[in-house]
Symmetry: C2
Subunit: 194 residues, 2 copies
DNA sequence: CGAGTGATTGACTGCGTTCAACCGACGTGG
DNA sequence: CCACGTCGGTTGAACGCAGTCAATCACTCG
């Protein structure tokens, strides 16, 4: 939402270094967060220490807002993936804004609906399919976010692709070279183009 | 939402046999659906014909509503899993209701938020983990839905458990007997208790 | 230069899948 | 009543692919 409104209603801005946590899995959801600049990822770590990245957010986007509406602990942790500036507003104030501005309330319906759509797609692509399929689905997702139709440089490391697709780094690397051989994408100087 | 409101605003009720589709993946989202009695599942089928069940809904719940808020095709299909009676209301009317009743609009924020929570949990449990872990997570989910704390009869076939967890039937069967041996659950007369 | 991070490769292993066969319960129709 | 078909559940054997482990390379930065 508009940052002026956030500030008017008492939001503070926090400068965050890369790798700082905004909240941890299991915490109570007490604040609304929105990114001024930078990026944040929501993720889980399983028993064996393997990470799964649920989603990454960039400038202008909010994150974790859904968990303000229900009476549950955060099911994910949030960490900044770049140096960032984050707006932070108390849950109470956030609901006051929703009460005050009806159009903002409606905007949040759309935001939540998009999240559901995105998670639905992710689940269907990731759970049942081959590594090739998973990785291509993720790359499609990247291109959609970049709002590009042509060939783009994928701004993720192999490890990050692995974390998004539930695969291992080595599997990602081997699958990428297969896909490269099949001309589904290109690798130049270790950079990925899709 | 309250069925009287639905009917007042022009919803129709449809009697649906088990196995009938409400909508198909790729369709435009044009109606709001709510279950009077019965149950409906949302699912995908991948290239090899393997199904993944995204979620199952029961009496009183709505489904697919999130996709009314965004400009995308349905990413899942909906099929009734029992004989059911379904309320069906046009998208236009649905939005008129939201405009008219502010508390209903807020209710939908909570409904969508719950969906996100549930999908987030599912993703973290299913993607990274062992069959045992996946199945136990699904059984926990069942118990939560049943709103029970004690031992319950799991009302799903092995195949349905497989569809929810992204495993194969045989793997489910073998894992269940391991879990039974570990006293994590019990199997009596082929019925599952957890 | 040395440390650190990400990318890559090879060899091996194990687990979930695949395929095929069979069982047990139930319902239906002659 | 029995024969038969169907459906869910079960078991065994073999396979193959992603995971695992370990070593090495490439590049950047202090």
């Amino acid at each position: 939402m508009d940052s002026n409104i956030l500030l008017t209603w008492g939001a503070i801005t926090k400068k965050i270094e890369k790798g700082e946590f905004l909240f941890h899995e299991g915490d109570d959801a007490r604040y609304y967060y929105q990114i001024e600049t930078g990026s944040v990822k929501l993720f889980n770590v399983n028993d064996e220490g393997k990470e799964f990245t649920q989603e990454t957010f960039y400038s202008g986007e909010c994150f974790g807002e859904a968990f303000l509406f229900i009476n549950e602990k955060y099911p994910v942790s949030a960490i900044s993936t770049h140096q960032s500036v984050i707006y932070k507003l108390s849950k109470d104030r956030f609901f006051q804004i929703l009460n005050e501005y009806r159009n903002i309330e409606r905007d949040f319906l759309c935001i939540l609906a998009k999240r559901i759509y995105s998670k639905t797609i992710t689940a269907s692509e990731v759970i049942n399919n081959s590594p090739e399929h998973r990785i291509l689905a993720f790359l499609d997702h990247c291109r959609k976010i970049a709002n590009a139709s042509g060939c783009i440089l994928i701004p993720y490391t192999r490890q990050e692709i692995a974390n998004h697709t539930g695969l291992r780094v080595e599997t990602v690397i081997r699958t990428l070279s297969v896909l490269s051989a099949k001309k589904k994408l290109s690798i130049k100087d270790r950079k990925l183009y899709y």
